[in-house]
């Protein structure tokens, strides 16, 4: 009964989405305020019904209703409850429903928190989002109904969730990722509404900024969790593989980063208007493209969902309507003349422009690398695959180009700045950065030129931020007052840029300094790795809720001082019989120790073991968390909540930092 209620609620949600897509848009076109005023309540109704549907599916999973096909093929009665819950989105149909739910959530959030928006704009924005909902809800109902039954032959037990997905990181990874993906639909909807209204002024940029920041923050966290999960769950210590599915989430992030910065220029200076609109369309299109790539089966990937050409066709048509439609609208409505606002070559505007160029090139590079096999295949030229060397070769120089400019960003001024002034401001940071770059890598022998370069660039970035912060605090009468005067927007920028610096150091140090040993060890053996002595004590049998495992016990000491007890496992899941490696990790701010079990070697009790020493690997994820935190902070800025009249009249907003 419950699955049928869910199915029915989903149908009602589709009807509401249809009305939301059509009626308020019609109202906005004909100037009918009654029709326009329907939009917020429709948006909330949409959320309620998609919510009911989602709760029904969750109930089916939690109650082990194996007559539902989805539950039977992705859950199991032995599965711990929390994983039964996560199993709801550990498959194509359920994750699509989650996607629809999050879209409804964002739509309702826009409806609730936009009382300062003119009704005309709000109704257009909500209509656009309703239209996207129509696409996803009908996709779910037509090609991927999550409530399909297996009657009358319901199995006694389910075939279990993929053990790779039975992991705490994977419980929240998809929701966070989708919050990001789908969140970009808000910026997209604002851009479309602005194009429809023909008014591409600073106000649409200001309305979009907090939403874009929040979406970007969620996406950063989602990508970070995915990378962290790959690191400890897949069992070989890697954290990024340039896999098509990873790229699918990374492309919107890159384009979104460009969008955030371009929105700043549009809001503050009325610049790059057409360009920013295009970026907003581009960012959300990449989210949709990611969905297409992951679910259509056009690319092979380790973690693609079960695929089906009918689904691929549906998303492609949807993609063509959304992206094709919005780009057509863009071509006809975007202002063709370049704005009359001028800026000098040495100015914050041109730095933001550089940021945009770098991130756009990066996005296109990843896009091209991801699609290249497909393009070659479609042209009938054979089959190829593109690997990490390509991505690294393009990506590393791009980032190395970006960071020096990033250091200039915070101290730079709008409109026109002077190189002499930059020289005066940044001479000391530059010298200190060079010193840091030379000296800090000495802490770790042997000296590594790449790490030195990364430290040099990151300290340049951090010191530039510090210099600017100090300038601001110095002009205030006391430090406390100076801090109080900093806007959340400024603090957010500070935190996010710091996060980026941490990320750069973490990535380079881990790639350059990691020590990995694969070796055969018997109980009693010990091995020294980067100063840590790993002693293999014994192998014991352990039993989990739905698996049995061999657990190796390791004692790690450094100079005789105990550091950690580690217990990597080799698990056999009972329902599916699949064997999984569960690595043991001793995490630290400056280094991770990592032990994973391979296979037993011979009959003497020896095992193949994988020991890693990974310095600064946490900095990468810590950096991503800081970036997300920064974006959240920036979204708190009061000026996004002020009435629009006030902001329109204020010239001083222009002068404050972005």
């Amino acid at each position: 009964m419950i699955p049928e209620i869910g199915h029915f609620a989903l149908i009602i949600a589709l009807c509401l989405a249809l009305i939301l897509a059509l009626v308020p848009a019609w109202g906005a076109w004909r100037g009918n305020s009654v029709a326009m005023a329907l939009a917020p309540s429709l948006a909330i109704g949409l959320l309620v019904f998609v919510g009911i549907s989602f709760i029904c599916l969750t109930t089916a999973f939690l109650q082990d209703d194996f007559s539902v096909k989805l539950v039977a093929s992705h859950s199991n009665s032995l599965l711990p409850s929390i994983y039964k819950f996560a199993a709801v989105w550990g498959n194509h149909e359920g994750s699509l429903l989650l996607w629809a739910l999050i879209l409804a959530l964002w739509t309702a959030a826009v409806a609730l928190f936009s009382s300062q928006l003119p009704l005309l704009v709000l109704s257009r924005v909500l209509s656009v989002m309703g239209g996207i909902s129509v696409g996803f809800l009908s996709f779910s109902l037509i090609t991927s109904n999550p409530f399909a039954r297996l009657l009358p032959a319901a199995p006694a037990d389910g075939s279990d969730l993929n053990p790779l997905l039975q992991d705490p990181g994977l419980i929240i990874h998809p929701p966070l990722l989708y919050m990001g993906y789908v969140g970009f639909s808000v910026a997209f909807a604002f851009a479309i509404a602005a194009l429809l209204g023909g008014r591409l002024d600073a106000s649409w940029a200001r309305w979009s900024r907090p939403w874009t920041n929040i979406a970007w923050a969620f996406l950063s966290l989602g990508i970070m969790l995915g990378s962290w999960w790959a690191y400890y769950e897949l069992g070989w210590g890697g954290w990024w593989f340039w896999d098509p599915v990873e790229n699918a989430s990374f492309m919107p992030w890159l384009a979104g980063t460009a969008l955030i910065h371009s929105l700043a220029a549009t809001e503050k200076r009325g610049l790059f208007k057409s360009w920013t609109v295009l970026l907003a369309i581009f960012t959300f299109s990449l989210s949709l493209l990611g969905t297409f790539l992951v679910r259509s089966g056009v690319l092979t990937s380790v973690h693609a969902f079960a695929t089906d050409p009918a689904r691929g066709m549906f998303i492609l048509v949807f993609l063509a309507i959304v992206v094709g439609g919005s780009l057509t609208l863009y071509a006809f409505r975007a202002p063709a003349v370049s704005s009359r606002v001028s800026f000098g070559w040495v100015s914050r505007e041109s730095l933001l422009l550089c940021n945009n160029v770098v991130f756009l090139v990066a996005t296109l590079t990843v896009l091209f690398g991801t699609l290249f096999p497909l393009i070659v295949d479609a042209l009938g030229l054979g089959k190829v695959s593109v690997g990490p060397p390509y991505f690294n070769a393009v990506f590393v120089p791009l980032m190395a180009l970006l960071v020096p400019l990033m250091g200039l960003g915070p101290v730079s001024r709008w409109k026109r700045d002077a190189v002499e002034r930059w020289r005066g401001e940044l001479a000391i940071p530059a010298v200190v950065a060079v010193l840091c770059g030379i000296t800090l890598p000495l802490l770790h022998a042997p000296y590594n030129i790449w790490v030195a370069l990364a430290v040099l660039l990151s300290s340049w970035l951090v010191l530039g931020l510090a210099r600017d912060l100090w300038q601001r605090l110095r002009s205030a009468s006391s430090a406390g007052q100076g801090l109080a005067r900093l806007t959340p927007g400024y603090c957010g920028m500070l935190i996010a840029h710091l996060g980026f610096a941490a990320c750069v150091v973490g990535i380079v140090a881990t790639s350059q300094y990691s020590v990995e040993h694969d070796l055969k060890m018997s109980p009693g053996d010990s091995r020294v790795l980067a100063g840590y002595e790993f002693r293999f004590v014994e192998v014991v049998q352990v039993r989990g809720p739905n698996f049995v495992a061999d657990e190796a016990r390791f004692e790690v000491t450094r100079d005789g001082v105990p550091v950690a007890s580690m217990g990597p496992q080799k698990r056999r899941y009972l329902a599916s019989g699949s064997v999984m490696t569960e690595a043991a990790i001793d995490a630290g701010l400056f280094r991770d120790l990592y032990v994973a079990m391979g296979e037993p070697v011979g009959s003497s009790g020896a095992w193949a073991m994988r020991l890693h020493f990974k310095p600064l690997v946490r900095w990468m994820w810590l950096g991503a968390i800081l970036m997300a935190l920064g974006a959240f902070t920036a979204a708190l800025d009061k000026r996004y909540r002020r009435q629009r009249e006030v902001i329109h009249s204020s010239g001083e907003a222009v002068l404050r930092g972005a």
């Binding site: 593989f241 259509s296 055969k520 391979g598």
Partner: protein
């Protein structure tokens, strides 16, 4: 109309992309371009991984067998590996083609994860892979007793692929040879 025309550029680029994606839907990335089907394995003379001798096409003939293309840099190969071991335990002959790989890394991999292969051809430069038309690892070729390629599967061989595609073909080939 000049500046306005420029704004159509994104639309045109997207249209090209959409056409490519549409073409892509009709193509199965796991499908073999059938150039080698029913043709003998290309001739080769390459070192055997971890051994001193050389191996050639004659060494993989004699019974229907699988030729599995793998490498330590290949993520999916690790996913596939446990199932290959199961197949090997069932007595299915599997030969490995260690593709564009480092010999030491490959030997470590086999020591650590177990070795389902009768032997491995060390194709360090990818020359045999090129002749075979390998586009990425993992790939698995089904050979008959005379070394003729009967089927190619690109991507991971798992239980489903084995039971629905490879096993029926393999059994048919085995029967033809009078091997149970």
């Amino acid at each position: 109309m000049g500046p306005r025309l420029k704004l159509f550029l994104p639309l045109i680029l997207f249209a090209l992309l959409a056409i490519t994606l549409f073409r892509g839907l009709g193509l199965d990335p796991n499908e073999m371009p059938s150039a080698l089907i029913d043709r003998p394995l290309p001739a080769f003379n390459l070192p055997a991984l971890g051994q001193t001798g050389m191996v050639s096409a004659a060494d993989v003939t004699g019974q229907p067998a699988l030729l599995n293309v793998w490498a330590t840099w290949c993520v999916s190969c690790r996913v596939e590996h446990p199932y290959l071991k199961q197949l090997a335990q069932q007595g299915i002959p599997i030969f490995g083609l260690n593709y564009k790989d480092d010999d030491l890394a490959a030997q470590r991999w086999l020591e650590e994860l177990g070795d389902p292969y009768r032997f491995n051809i060390a194709d360090r430069e990818g020359t045999l892979g090129l002749d075979l038309g390998v586009y990425g690892a993992p790939e698995t070729y089904l050979l008959d007793a005379t070394g003729v390629v009967r089927y190619r599967h690109a991507g991971v061989v798992d239980e489903k692929v084995w039971q629905t595609i490879l096993e029926p073909l393999y059994l048919a080939l085995s029967k033809g040879n009078g091997v149970p």
